[in-house]
Subunit: 385 residues, 3 copies
């Protein structure tokens, strides 16, 4: 494989202990993750085991409900030989330092990987992951732990790297190579949904990652649905560095014109998300309910932000690739009025499944690159057999 | 082993991707399942591993509470090298097409087996399993999935094949061979229980399966406790084809006379089960509660349908084998008035445990026959060692 | 390793099927458990697998919430090649004979180990474990089970052997050898906590175990917080036999003087615990709530039982080792007034983590010694590689 030869040239010595944010990784490290995921996917297709561990635990901490991410993490861990032990918390909470520090160590004694999903509260999820990382660092240095487990961000308030990298692999597969992404127009667009409090991490992850591959990125959303400013700035810088472009528009139609790829998806207004964190910090559950109502009302003002057949006709040759992290809110199927028209979704349904199918392999690739000494040589041996 | 030589002669090329209903399987396929289960049981007794997979997932979907079936599936999966990932739904529900289709694929990327228990609503469970099967078929054909996982029915509204085949293996063990079942009288009888809404799948599974082995089958129940008509017709046809017989009586005493095997067990009136599904479809939870009361009242009219010492004396030499899928409602032990007298149950208690003990091996055998290429040759090698 | 040579000399032929109470084990068996735990810990540190099983289940039954014991059991099982299947009961209950007997067998068909935590009700937990043990004995003798699974007490009302043996290994590591414990003063002291109904099993486990190694044991608690009389008598006898001493005082200051090790920890008044069991037996949930209030009120009378810096200064050179089973109630950190001052806890925090880190290896050692034929020779081979 051509990808494998590229992989051998990358310097992966600083890949790091954790995978929390794509913008903390070098371009080589990101490409390596995608290439390794692709190779593991290919091995699985040939029904060839890429199990590496004889035993070991993968801890999962989900502070939000999840079916598909939970499955993807379980599948990745299992394929590598690890067993998932789930620590489910009944209720999202702003965690206290001492408890985080202690629990992180208590769950790490024989643990290779800790996967965390904490995406509900802006300003909370990524901070929590940092606290866990610091706790296991301290315990490893003090020889409380024999090994320092690796953290995988399974979705935080800031980024959703296992999703965005699976999306990147889907784009690579669709267009033929990462180089082919150069100059392609990708639209990350807000879309209407009758649901509340969807995190900003997917659109943030998409603009921060795809801008590194020379794409013509357009972020579209109504006023009030801005992303976290620092991440938007990163996307702008990435676009400049990679020879691509990045623009923000407040009109879905304008955005879709001549697009190669569209990613229409709902998220919550940033001010609502900020207030939500404040209310949670004060355990003010009554006003949290009020906030939900005002969020839904605000969304309703933009009900016409739907990915319709008409809009799709305005894309490149009327045939842009439609992407979604699933589940989508489909008009007349999963709700009365949603993100996407039923006929559009149905035409791309299996494509979205395929997109999702890369996620277990992306997670496995992250673990592989963080935990396996000499990962490229180890893969080379696997492929020779 | 004699069974192994028979196994080598069977044509198992059409065993199929799924195991949903015993009446969809040929006699050879059913015998093969029992023989392989027996061999795996024997290997385990000798503490010999029959692990086949290096890694891989087994998904379990339980839409009803379960301890022992959950354990049996976990034990079977584990013995073969698979890890169970449980997808528990909080509440039984009539599922919607789009969600089933998507979820089925999302949980199948690295999955070998999906075990489903959905037995609460007549007309629902088996349909749900079909929908899942169609979804993974579609995704496999579209190359969304690298492999098409196999479904195992862990109890539907129609059949409970892992139970009935475990029961068949228990009968084979008790009488010495499947041929010895020919002409033996087995009574599948309704019995009183102070509980509500027990599914019809066990009695249906028993009459549909045991009628294929030349047994003299008697189904006994009060009026109003009929089984699903199509399954009764299958049992009649099977009895005719296999040289056995099948009769229905409305009197427990008449049924027990000269029986070789008795299987007294409660189930709900079929009309109650039909109304229940309608109410659930309409999300009419209030009337569901009323329905429960009228079911209990109807049961109470047949409180004397108990497997007593007196009744047992009327069986062949007073020594019929008592069977039960467990847990039994035992008079004066688990309830005031139940399916079976305490002294009868106690005499056969360890027999019912032994019967239950075959279930993990039956599930393992189904998976083995569906997933292992050349299962008989692979088993042969295991046995040589 | 010196420990390994000692291990080879022990007679471990009567180690037993279960590990329920340390006082049922010989001194050699206890030492062997600690030594094997230490060796497994060392192998893990060198990243060497000590997996023994190819497949097999470990059942966990937690009748009380748990994060760290659950993790420790999962880690131990996984490291040995077993997969945990959790049977969680929603609510603690006085279990009925028939259900226990049946469930125990139903969960044992392919099971190597059953770990049980049942510590909430005095007079209940240990009895429950005995019932499970008798049930699997009966089923094994009747050939319902191919093998008789081993029980591990993960905390009962009487003892917490996985904790006390992890503590013993921590002491061995701290002082250099088990022989070095001889003559050292260990204070097991009650301490104030604003929480209700903490079991007596940790202090009972500590005095019953540490008294066997020639330590100078002091048990300190306010009046009304006595331990179960039979266990106190055992500790007295053990102290005499081992050449140590055992005394009870009702004053924390008196106890701490010149101590080498202090273990300040809250537990409930024994009369409260006795009443609690009675109320539960009668399902009298209303009075259970009243009882909680009176327990908290009684604790409040001894709010000054806190492990302060002042008290620590009175220990041997002001430098006694502080131990805790975690989580500790830390004044001004996890509660307003608790068991230990924040500065004391912080100084020993990583020591308590290290102490906890031995628990998975202690559990693995118990399983190893109960399930592996010729465990010492098998370990010897592992160490040669």
């Amino acid at each position: 494989m051509n990808e494998f030869r590229q992989l051998e040239k990358f310097d992966l010595s600083d890949y790091g202990d954790d995978f929390l944010l794509t913008w903390e990784k070098s371009l080589s490290e990101l490409k390596a993750t995608v290439y390794v995921a692709e190779i593991l996917n290919e091995l699985h297709k040939r029904r060839k085991s890429f199990r590496y561990f004889d035993a070991g635990l993968a801890i999962s901490i989900f502070r939000d409900k999840s079916t598909r991410t939970r499955y993807s993490f379980a599948a990745a861990a299992n394929a590598l030989g690890l067993t998932v032990e789930a620590l489910d918390e009944e209720k999202s909470q702003i965690s206290h330092g001492e408890t985080v520090r202690e629990t992180a160590s208590m769950l790490s004694f024989l643990t290779e990987v800790i996967g965390i999903r904490d995406d509900m509260y802006l300003g909370v999820g990524n901070s929590y992951m940092r606290e866990v990382a610091e706790a296991v660092d301290e315990s490893y240095k003090a020889e409380v732990l024999h090994q320092r487990p690796s953290l995988v961000n399974l979705q935080s308030d800031l980024d959703h790297p296992t999703q965005s990298l699976a999306d990147l692999l889907a784009l690579k597969t669709y267009f033929g190579s990462l180089d082919e992404l150069r100059g392609k127009k990708l639209v990350m667009s807000w879309a209407y949904s009758p649901s509340y409090g969807k995190p900003l991490s997917v659109p943030q992850g998409i603009v921060a990652l795809m801008s590194r591959f020379g794409m013509q990125l357009t972020l579209a959303h109504p006023e009030g649905y801005e992303l976290v400013p620092g991440i938007v700035q990163s996307a702008e810088r990435h676009a400049e560095e990679s020879g691509g472009s990045f623009q923000i528009v407040n009109d879905m139609k304008e955005a879709f014109a001549n697009a190669d790829v569209v990613y229409p998806k709902s998220w919550a207004p940033i001010n609502i998300m900020r207030q939500r964190t404040e209310l949670l910090r004060d355990s003010d559950y009554e006003h949290l309910t009020d906030l939900e109502k005002s969020c839904l009302a605000q969304n309703l003002q933009h009900e016409n932000w739907e990915c319709t057949e008409e809009l799709m006709k305005t894309t490149k040759n009327g045939k842009a690739l439609y992407m979604h992290c699933l589940p989508a809110d489909i008009t007349d199927v999963s709700c009365k009025q949603g993100e996407v028209a039923a006929s559009v979704f149905e035409r791309y349904r299996l494509d979205t499944y395929r997109e999702a199918g890369f996620k277990p392999f992306v997670i496995a690739a992250m673990i592989y690159l963080m935990r396996v000494p000499n990962p490229v040589q180890t893969l080379a041996k696997l492929m020779e057999d």
